[in-house]
Amino acid sequence: MQTIKEDRSNQYINPYFGGVLLGLLLLITIFITGRGLGASGAVKSTVVATVERVAPAYAQDHGYLKKFISDDQHPMNNWLVFETVGIFIGAFLSGLFAGRVKKFRVEHSPKISVKTRIIFATLGGMLFGFGSQFGRGCTSGAALSGTATFATAGLLSMAMIFGGGYLFAYFFRKLWI
């Protein structure tokens, strides 16, 4: 007799429900801290911290990183970094309960190779990281939280990110469909 373990790994919660939960979380976060969520800022802090450690003179000289270095506080000691650590934990828990935590794998469309996927993932990340500095945030920080707080920058950011995506989507459709 065999018991077939149910594969729940493709079961996700209802997106509207997820949206309501996320919206409530955002609301509570703003209520408590006066600011919204974020993500790319933690990576930026990591860049600042590592550059400062490896080549402190460079960090001090360079106009951009210098802005985020303060004398009395380690660059990684900020709200966003702690929040990001939380994101890893929370996502891990959710994946665990849904049976999605497995050994390392590359998710890719069957029409492209693993290598292609990895190259484009890296490239996409670089572009996104680069753009996020101009955009003063990513989808979580600028678009999501910004628009919820009625900031024009948030609305603009949301329009530009998704607009930009749609603009380029056709040319890279082979990656996905």
Binding site: Y16, T33, G36, S132, G135, G141
Partner: protein, 210 residues
């Protein structure tokens, strides 16, 4: 579209319409009336003229002396180092403290003493500020009228008075000389410029971002 979504959609549309017609609340955080009543009846908000004199002489940077009279009266005579915040100009049209005073009122860690000719005007300013939640506020009892009596022209105590009164008189004499008392209330002998403390409002700045 799914029937289960019918109610949530109706709900969100109703909430949306509600948001549309909700008035923009001019939300001013105020101390509750009960709390205010308690604070008004607490006499510890009064400070003596000697305490104010000592604060000025010692130049304590955490103490702010505020003249609540009109600017004409202030120009005619003021306590050295005091700032002029006339009662009429204290609050703006929405009931919040006028922006002009944001470097003076509501700064964390600062103690503020209001004075006027008597103490009615200063007390009114005290009530308004306390109601808006500002802390560490005091009123100089007796105002400038009493200041003249005690600091500028102190009367020596009777020979039979207890020694504390003599000590107080000595202090007053010293203060009187410092403030150029001894009869005439002359502006010329005062320090020319009031030392205005420009303490940048150290409110907890909310930073945010990506």
């Amino acid at each position: 579209m799914n029937k289960t979504y019918f109610f949530p959609i109706v709900l969100i549309v109703i909430l949306g319409i509600g948001a549309l017609f909700l008035p923009e609340s001019t939300y001013t955080e105020e101390v509750s009336p009960d709390q205010l009543f308690l604070e008004i009846n607490d006499p510890s908000r009064f400070v003596t003229t000697e305490q104010v004199a000592r604060a000025i002489i010692e130049g304590d940077p955490t103490i702010l002396i505020v003249d609540t009279r009109s600017s004409d009266q202030y120009k005619a005579f003021y306590l050295p180092g005091s700032v002029n915040i006339p009662l009429e100009e204290l609050v703006d049209s929405t009931g919040k403290i006028n922006e002009k005073w944001e470097n003076y009122l509501g700064i964390e860690g600062m103690y503020t003493a209001f004075y006027s000719n008597g103490d009615v005007c200063a007390d009114q300013v005290w009530v308004l500020c306390t109601r808006l939640g500002i802390k560490n506020l005091f009123v100089m009892k007796g105002g400038l009228n009493y200041w003249v009596e005690t600091i500028l022209r102190p009367k020596p105590p009777a020979q039979t008075a207890p020694s504390e009164e003599f000590a107080l008189y000595d202090f007053r004499k010293g203060a009187s000389m410092y403030f150029g008392g001894g009869g005439a209330i002359e502006v010329e002998t005062q320090i020319a410029e009031p030392i205005t403390p420009i303490r940048k409002k150290k409110k907890r700045v909310i930073s945010g971002g990506c």
